[in-house]
């Protein structure tokens, strides 16, 4: 399985829509969708930082590892 992106779970907990997160972070809807579906090749620390700030969470809430 590898690295799983739990962005949708955190967003649902915060009751935040994708477009709202996009507005808050400045990351495009398309890139957030790719990230949400765990299809991104890599994630920058700067991206992680703005997402964590917008969702008021820790990087560990967004990313997890499954064998």
């Amino acid at each position: 399985m590898g690295i799983i992106v739990n962005l949708d779970v955190v967003m649902a907990k915060r009751k935040m829509m994708l477009k709202d997160l996009s507005k808050k972070t400045g990351i495009s809807n398309v890139n957030l969708s790719i990230l949400k579906q765990s299809k991104a090749k890599a994630i920058r620390f700067s991206t992680l930082e703005v997402i964590c700030e917008a969702l008021d969470c820790q990087p560990g809430d967004i990313l997890s590892f499954e064998k």
Binding site: I27, N29, V30, N31, S33, I34, A42, I43, R44, T47
Partner: protein, 169 residues
Amino acid sequence: MKSKFNYIGIAVVLIGLILVLKALGGVIGLYWLIPVFSLSIFNIYQSAISDDKYARKVYNHRLNFMVSKSVETIHTEIEPDLLFDKVVEEIRKSKLRISYASRKERLVAISTPMSLRSWGERIYFEVVEKGKNADLIIESIAPGQVISYGKNKENTKKLIQHIEDSFTI
């Protein structure tokens, strides 16, 4: 995106045609102007239709020897519509001019302008559905250029690298 060998390729073809006419014998007179004029008109036509939906068909026609092209495919695990949006977004970011885009056909065409050194280049991005995933076909076409001396392939590789890098978010 320009090839400095553009005119060399055309000149080679024209000289070849003139030599064929000479070999056929007889007085050529100004008849040599016919192929020169015809090919020039055809190249202008190819450049003029670049924004047209059907230009790709003209460029890819098996009898059209006045184009050079390079085709590469990227395999992705992304849904077709999402990949299409991603491609459009990346093209807009890179400030290339989109000459044609259709979500229905999942096809985007960009073109570089004609200059003294080049007839301009057309690049087609086509998203092809593969089950739940999609492939991205990048086709770089240089109308009016018989040989691109690897320039097309080089440009396609650059685009592939740019798109692959864009998946680092």
